[in-house]
Each structure stands twice: as structure tokens, then as C-alpha cells.
């Protein structure tokens, strides 16, 4: 059989090109590496070299032909001693290798169903011992317990050791674990985030603290391109079990460069898991799960929550599964989803709504990637109305995703359009009055909930 020479793709995006000129004629001897012809695309002119040896038996696409599709046959090559009569059979139409249908993919590739067909088992209620502590202490205990459990867990970041954490989250860890495992870094986020990923590649389980997530932007390349994508790029052979944690979201009066919610930024990215605890139990259970998880996990804490007190489980095996939401307050009239500090705002709003005769169900999302769509849908099937609350900006935010999921998964149960309550679509202002206007308040949530109840 003669060998078909196909129109090559000269760039990843090339779909067709012009066959400018043949350098060989029919009957010429061809050695591998010989220039066969010249091809022009809109970007460049390239020479096509022969891969196989033989005699150029027949040119199928003459000089100057435009719009030659990639992968269509342009010539036939006869092997040493092969007869020219073989050419006709090979050139017959229909036998040509069909170019892969480039644009054949449907407009929207259906996403693999992440939801199990049957509702997952409910998250077990913890009934063990608890102690009252701050979110800050809960996070510290979570890290300490996991560091006791696994020698490979280390903590590194700016001011985490001697200063005990810029926000005192790592209080006492240096004393207990020493400077080999609790490490002060220079102010070099990109460097130490990358270093953490490298160490994780060799089997360590680093916890990388960003003093705040605002500074993780210096390192976001390492988080996405190195941590999140490696497992996939390595065909599952190499991953990065690493935790990136620190305060996220609006802090108080620190203006635009220090006050921003990155939830939807990270939730956007396959290869990451993203959690955003609200309560002390959330903080502890999610942090422990994050450390044990074999994947890169982003833990979005909140500075304003650090000092708040909660009852927190003390059993060292207490874990909260990543990917599961929690109903903080059951209700039947309207679903309110929130995460991190906004859960408290939503609960406060629910209280105010109760006074007006509206029974709100508040869902603490806990995990933003994967998002517990099932829990939200189940709730909406009951309430038929939903408001999403977040501190972040509205455009392409978590609320946008929730609204889209409700269209896809709960459309027939909705009695009102989904409403998003978000941070104002502006950089965070410094002035006290403007800052308050920029962040969702319980009153904003109440209004939104009333509007979906048409009240």
C-alpha cells in the first residue's frame, strides 16, 4: 500500500492552510528529512519534511491550492519496489483518512455528573465532647492534632513561628513542634508557595499560610499551574497534597488591596478543593480534612471570625467531609445559602425574617469546590425560593454559579428567580460609611429574601 502524506498542522490552532509549492515532482526519490513542499497559514510559511522514504508517486493537491484541511491526504508515497498501479486504489475517495471533526463537539459538553444518583448519606451529627473556644484556637488545634498525627505535616509562612502568626493562629506551634516544622519564611509568597508544592511532590504535607489571601495573588501561579494541575498533567502519577490557608474576604478598614473575597477565584479551578469555614467546628473539621486530603486544598478563613467563640469538638478524629454543606437553620419559606462570615449574617437575617413571619432555611455551604449542589436543590425543592449571599463581587461569583445550578437542577421547583446578595461591584473603600455599604448586611439579606417571597 502506498503511504498517504497528510496535510500537517503547523500550529495547535491550524485547521487548514494553502499548499504553496511542491519541492519534489512525481517520480522523485524521497529520503526522510527531504523538503516535500511549502505550506502557508495566516501566520507563517513552513516547509514540510518527509518522514518516510520512497518515491513520490502522486501529488493529490497541486501547487497553490487554498484551504487544504489539516489531515487530508496531499500526496502518495510509493515504497521501494512498489508498483505505480497501487496508486489508484489508495487515492480512491472515501478511503482517505477522515480528518477528525474539529468543530464537532457540542456547544456545551455535559459535565460529568458529580452528584451521586441517590442522595448521599446525611453527615453524621457529632455527639462527642466539645469545648468552647475561638475560631483561631480551633484552627490551631486542628493543625496541632494533624502535626502530632503525621510527621510529614509542616507549617510555613510569614510570621508563623516566632511571632506566633500575624493573626496569632499558629500560637504555640513553634514551641510544640520546633523550628524544623514551623517555619518563618521571608516575604516571598511565590517562592515559598512553590517550595511547598515541591515538598508536597516528594510526599510531604505542607500547610502554607498566607498572611492574608490578598498576598496569595503573588503566588497564584504556583497554586494553579503547579499545585492544581500537576496530578492531571502527570496522568495521575504525581499530585501535591498541600494546604493553602489564611484569612480571606473583607477585613475591617484596610481598603482595596487588603480586603477582598477570593472564593470564586479558586472555586473556578479544577484540581483544587476549596473550603470556607464559618464556625469553630467548621474551622477545625474542615482544616483537618484539608490536611488529610491528598489534593491541594484552599482553606479560606476569615479574620473577623478568628476571635468568635463556638463549641468545638475535641475528639481528634472529628472531621468534616469536604463537599458537604450544613443546614444551620431549617426553614420552609426561603433558602439562604452563605459561607464563611456571611453565614452569621444570614442567620441574623433569618431571625429578622422570622419576626416578619418568613421561615428561612440557612445553608452553610462549608465547601465551595466541590459545591454541595444536592443539598441546595433538596432545600429549594422544599422552599421554592433561594437567595445566595457572599462578600465577593457579583460578576462570575459563587452566587452566579448557584443561580446557574438552580436553572439546571431545580428549575421546575423555583417560584421566583434566584437572587444574589454580593459585595458591591467596586474595590473595597476605606471610609467607614462606604465600607459598610460595600459589604452585605443582614438588612440586605432580609430585603432579598422578602423579594423572592414577593413581600
Amino acid at each position: 500500500m502506498p503511504i498517504q502524506i497528510l496535510m500537517p498542522a503547523l500550529s495547535p490552532t491550524m485547521t487548514e492552510g494553502k499548499l504553496a509549492k511542491w519541492a519534489k515532482k512525481e517520480g522523485d526519490k524521497v529520503a526522510s528529512g527531504d523538503v516535500l513542499c511549502e505550506i502557508e497559514t495566516d501566520k507563517a510559511t513552513m516547509e514540510v519534511e518527509a518522514v518516510d522514504e520512497g518515491i513520490l508517486g502522486r501529488i493529490l493537491v497541486p501547487d497553490g491550492t487554498e484551504n487544504v484541511a489539516v489531515n487530508s491526504p496531499i500526496a502518495l508515497l510509493l515504497a521501494e519496489g512498489e508498483d505505480a498501479s497501487a496508486l489508484d486504489a489508495a487515492a480512491a475517495p472515501g478511503e482517505a483518512a477522515a480528518p477528525p471533526a474539529a468543530a464537532a463537539a457540542p456547544a456545551s459538553t455535559p459535565a460529568p455528573k458529580e452528584l451521586p444518583v441517590a442522595a448521599p448519606p446525611p453527615v453524621e451529627e457529632y455527639t462527642g465532647p466539645t469545648a468552647k473556644m475561638t475560631v483561631r484556637e480551633a484552627l490551631r488545634d486542628a493543625m496541632a492534632e494533624e502535626m502530632r498525627r503525621d510527621q510529614e505535616v509542616i507549617l510555613l509562612g510569614e510570621e508563623v513561628a516566632q511571632y506566633q502568626g500575624a493573626y496569632k493562629v499558629s500560637q504555640g506551634l513553634l514551641d510544640e513542634f520546633g523550628d524544623k516544622r514551623v517555619i518563618d519564611t521571608p516575604i516571598t509568597e511565590m517562592g515559598f508557595a512553590g517550595l511547598g508544592v515541591g515538598a508536597a511532590m516528594l510526599g510531604m504535607k505542607p500547610i502554607v499560610e498566607f498572611m492574608t489571601f490578598n498576598f496569595a495573588m503573588q503566588a497564584i501561579d504556583q497554586i494553579l499551574n503547579s499545585a492544581a494541575k500537576t496530578l492531571y498533567m502527570a496522568g495521575g502519577k504525581l499530585g501535591a497534597p498541600i494546604v493553602f490557608r489564611g484569612p480571606n474576604g473583607a477585613a475591617a478598614r484596610v481598603a482595596a488591596q487588603h480586603s477582598q473575597c477570593y472564593a470564586s477565584w479558586y472555586a473556578h479551578c479544577p484540581g483544587l478543593k476549596v473550603v470556607a469555614p464559618w464556625s469553630g467546628a467548621d474551622a477545625k473539621g474542615l482544616m483537618k480534612s484539608a490536611i488529610r486530603d491528598p489534593n491541594p486544598v484552599i482553606v479560606l478563613e476569615n479574620e473577623i471570625m478568628y476571635g468568635q467563640h463556638f463549641e468545638v469538638p475535641t475528639d481528634p478524629e472529628f472531621l468534616i467531609p469536604i463537599g458537604r454543606a450544613k443546614i444551620e437553620r431549617p426553614g420552609k419559606d426561603v433558602t439562604i445559602t452563605a459561607f464563611s462570615r456571611m453565614v452569621g449574617v444570614a442567620l441574623e437575617a433569618a431571625k429578622q425574617l422570622e419576626a416578619e413571619g418568613i421561615d428561612a432555611e440557612v445553608i452553610n455551604l462549608r465547601s465551595l469546590r466541590p459545591l454541595d449542589v444536592d443539598a441546595i436543590v433538596t432545600s429549594v425543592k422544599k422552599t421554592n425560593r433561594i437567595v445566595s449571599v457572599e462578600e465577593g463581587w457579583p460578576v462570575a461569583g459563587m452566587g452566579s454559579e448557584i443561580a446557574a445550578m438552580m436553572m439546571e437542577e431545580a428549575f421546575d421547583w423555583l417560584d421566583a428567580p434566584v437572587v444574589r446578595v454580593c459585595g458591591a461591584d467596586v474595590p473595597m473603600p476605606y471610609a467607614a460609611n462606604l465600607e459598610k455599604l460595600a459589604i452585605p448586611q443582614p438588612e440586605t439579606v432580609v430585603q432579598a429574601a422578602k423579594s423572592v417571597c414577593y413581600r
Partner: protein, 340 residues
Amino acid sequence: MPAEAAAKGGSEPQTHPEGKPDAEELLKLYREMLLIRRFEEKAGQLYGMGLIAGFCHLYIGQEAVVTGLQACAKDQDSVITTYRDHGHMLAKGMDPKGVMAELTGRIGGYSRGKGGSMHMFSVEKRFFGGHGIVGASVPLGTGLAFAHKYRGDGGLNFCYFGDGAANQGQVYEAFNMASLWKLPIIYVIENNRYAMGTSLQRASATTELYRRGEAFGIPGMPVDGMDVLAVKKAGEEVTAYVREGNGPYVMELNTYRYRGHSMSDPAKYRSKEEVASYRKEHDPIDGLRSYMEQHGIGDEASFKAIDKEIKEIVNEAAEFAQTSPEPDPSELWTDVLIEA
């Protein structure tokens, strides 16, 4: 100047201009440093009263750095710095009222209350911020220098950053370009020996920061940043070098901040004695004053008069910062983009 001498410093200015000191000039330097000192003390007070919030990084102790260098600057020169920016703005001739009102988040502030302590700008005075992300202002300053050269405006950029910032990767990306393209920029590393709670020694493999440009062919010089005359003298040399088109220069200004990193820092990472010794033995304002007294420049009465004048300026600024109204709620939505 040898590194050692610079590092030691002293309340006695070690370097003084040849010949008879220029009384007028010394008084001006004194006055400027005192304005920064008193302004910052007032800001600290207002913070304590809850009128200023968030992060507020005071410049107390470091006044000689910006004052001495600014004395070598021309109007067309630009300045960029970090969040520890109040002193730089005052030295650049920005209005203390506008700075203080920004600290209190009022409409009369340089950023109309939207930027706060760390983010103020004055195109007119060629002050380009006020930046909160450690290291990020260094490429920005390099870009300002690029524009100075491109437009041939004769200006150079003073790019101030801290000892901690000197470890950020983008600093070195900027150094390389600045040297490659011979940009008119002075990288002023304000080495106050700590980055928050981390001492230079604990964060930097090499601590002679003035040598950080060597790999890129950028010369450097350590300077006693507690001695305004030493700073000015070094500044004159370096600005001349840069203005001649020789490209960038790294100056390491050895200095000290008296207060915590920001208002919420208890500063337990250093001893009281260390702070006290700087205040007592190396204070830039006391040092200049005793130098002037030795040379018979200014008497008790003239220093008193300066004190009084500065106090009035600062009080007026504080008054303005409290009476200027909060921005109108509609301001929340403005200034995101320019209408086009």
C-alpha cells in the same frame, strides 16, 4: 562610605558639607523632619481615639531617610513607596490636611476617603503611592523611571521599599530591566532591620542589602539613615550619577522604626533597650539639632518657633481630618472606571 561607619551611625552627624554649614538649609531639614514626627504622633493619637482605623504604619524614627533624599530631588522626580507612606508624602510637599483627612476616611482626603493610610497619590506632586502589596511597588517605580527616560523629562524615580520587601522576586525582575535599559531610578531600601516581627538576619541570606543589585551590574551604597546630612550627601552623589544617564543605583538606608510595625503590633521581637538606644543615641532630629547648636545655628527661641509652627500645622490637619465630612454614599460607585 564603608559599610561599618554607616551601620554604626550616631547622634553626631558624621558627614557634613564642606565649609560652613548653610543655616537656612539645616533649618529646613530640621523643620521637615519635625513635621513628619509630629504628624505621625498625631496620627497615632487619632488612631487611639478610633478616628483612624485599619492598618496605619508610622514613620517615626525614619524621618532622615526621606528628608535627606528629598533634599536632593528636583520637581520632576517621582516618588513611590509602600504603605509606610505618610512621611514621603509630607516630604514631597503634599498637604498635611489632605493626608490626615485620608487617614480618617473623609472626603477631604487625598483619595476622597477611599484609599486610607496606605493608598494616597498626587500626580501634581509626582507622588505615586502608597502601595499595600510588599514588593509590588518596585516594578511600578521602575516603570515610572522608564517613562522618565522615554519622555526625556529629566526626572528620576525614588523607589522606596523595606528590608523585608527586598526578598520579593519581582524586585529582581525589576532590577534586571532597570539595569538593562539604564533607567533613571534609585532603589532606596529603608533597612529598619525588621519586616514586621522578622529581623533582617532571620529572613535574608545576605544582609548587605546595598549589594543586592550586583548581579545586575547595579552599584550600591550603604548610608547612615539616622543622619540626615549623611543621607543628603549620599543622595547628592547618587542623584548625580543617575542623572548622568548611568542607570539605576541601590541605596541601603540603615534606619530604625521606633513604633510597632503597625498600630496593632506589640513589637515583642525586639528589646526595649534596643529601641531606647536608637531613640537616645541615634535620633535623627535630636542629632541634627545638636549639630546645629554646635555650629551656632538657631537658638532656643528659633527652635521654639519651629516647634510652635509645626504644632499648628499638625493641629490644623487633625482638625480638618475630623471636620471634613465622610464621603457621600454615592461615592461608593464612582471611580471604578473612567467613562469612555
